[in-house]
């Protein structure tokens, strides 16, 4: 991991007013991080990214609104996802596909960043155009009263009852479109359960790679939970973990169960 380009501006007295950046969406923020801080996504540590967010939030606290805060969370999630992808132990059999998927994702992100930058600049021009047009006010006085009698009787045929009908129609509450996500049942996996499964499986395997140990799992979360369960067992001295090189093959060796497996936490999807 390379050195971190921390947003140093936050760590020392600022000699002049820094205009508060307002980010329009996660791509905007990512763009800002990349162009202003030269963050290399793949090399920077997650804690630095989180620090950057917290510092930016602190800077914005006077004008913090929910939307901005939510956008921050979203971009944080995007970064974490990309980062996590590299950190998760790879499965050798699908490595090429994953690598391709990674490239695809990166290209997509790049395209979206370029698009974001394009419209950001277009918006700036729109703003300038509007500002300069705003220096003139249109004449809106309209017809002089001497012509009022000429105006066709636009109310011909309009009745009080009709006006009532129009109002009633306006007052009918319009159902708000709402995205219901509750049909998507969250995948819930408990580390406790995974520990129990591993304690059952590992003594039979003796020595096994993590890729193999998780080869039957479909959900990413299940893989993560298994990994956490392994760490739990490692902490308890029940297994040994061996990895020759970073991002290399992770091997699990069963050592035997100590007296008490201890309490574990539950992780929600």
């Amino acid at each position: 991991m390379s050195g971190i380009r921390r947003p140093l501006v936050y760590n020392r007295p600022v000699p002049y007013t820094v205009s508060t950046p307002v980010f329009e969406g996660p791509f905007d923020l990512l763009l800002h991080l990349i162009t202003r801080q030269q963050v290399d996504l793949w090399e920077v540590s997650l804690s630095a990214i989180v620090d950057g967010y917290v510092a930016t939030l602190a800077e914005m606290q006077t004008a913090l609104d929910l939307e901005v805060a939510t956008e921050f969370l979203l971009i944080a999630a995007v970064l974490l996802e990309l980062k996590a992808r590299r950190l998760l132990p790879g499965r050798e059999d699908v490595e090429l596909e994953e690598e391709l998927a990674l490239w695809e994702e990166r290209d997509l992100l790049l395209a979206r960043l370029l698009e974001c930058k394009t419209f950001k600049d277009a918006a700036a021009t729109l703003h300038r155009t509007m500002e300069s047009a705003g220096r003139s006010w249109p004449r809106t006085a309209g017809l002089e009263e001497r012509f009022a009698s000429l105006v066709p009787d636009v109310l011909a045929g309009v009745t009080a009852a009709q006006l009532g009908d129009v109002m009633n129609a306006l007052l009918v509450p319009k159902p708000q479109a709402r995205l219901l996500l509750d049909h998507v049942a969250p995948v819930r996996a408990s580390v406790g359960d995974a520990v129990v499964e591993l304690v059952d499986e590992l003594p039979r395997a003796g020595r096994i790679t993590f890729a193999r140990l998780t080869s039957g799992l479909v959900e990413r979360l299940e893989v993560i939970v298994r990994f956490l369960a392994l760490l739990e067992l490692y902490k308890q001295g029940a297994v040994d973990l061996q990895q020759a090189v970073t991002f290399g093959r992770l091997e699990v060796v069963w050592l035997g169960l100590p007296d008490d497996p201890g309490g574990t936490e539950e992780y929600d999807g």
Binding site: W137, A141, G142, E144, L155, L163, P175, R178, H183, V187
Partner: protein, 215 residues
Amino acid sequence: MATEEERAIEAIVMVSDRPVEPHLLAQLLEVTPARVEDICALLAESYAAEDRGFQLVRVAGGYRFQSHPDQAPYVEKFVLEGQSARLSAAALETLAIVAYKQPVSRAQVAAIRGVNADAVIRTLQTRGFIAEVGRDPGPGQATLYGTTPLLLEKLGLDRIEQLPPLAQFVPGPEIMDALERSLRADPAPAPAPIELRQEPGRAGGPYQDDPDLGD
């Protein structure tokens, strides 16, 4: 060449939708009202000398631009041919809102209609169907609008209270359903906590087969 003072008066009077008092112009230009009267007289003369199709005139205690009387035939043609003879749906909606909710601000009208109402309000005002009736006492002091006697006359009503009462709104079942859903803080009964697999039965969404929305 117009002087700076002349230009300022031209600009202000041009964008005003009512005659501008010389007193106010004097204040804006930081000159005396007498000076304003002089400048306006000069301007009016110059338009006349150039034979413009418009005039600067003093009416109702203020100055305004208006079309030259000898151009009335063209203006009349414009009124008769250039304007639609029926109220647009937008205008009718706006009129209904002002009639029932008066006194009401532009912002309130826009909020009910869901779209900007400024142009429509101006049109209705020009037609004499609605008028400014006051100012909102709150911050911003928004202009409040109400209906005019002309509108009552056109609708054949004596008093605005004679408008038909608004229907007691009875929501249909699908709207009740939608409202119920959007009010629900916790939309789904939490599934059993340690479930790794989805129950096949849940695929249709939680409300599909749940007749009891009241809980």
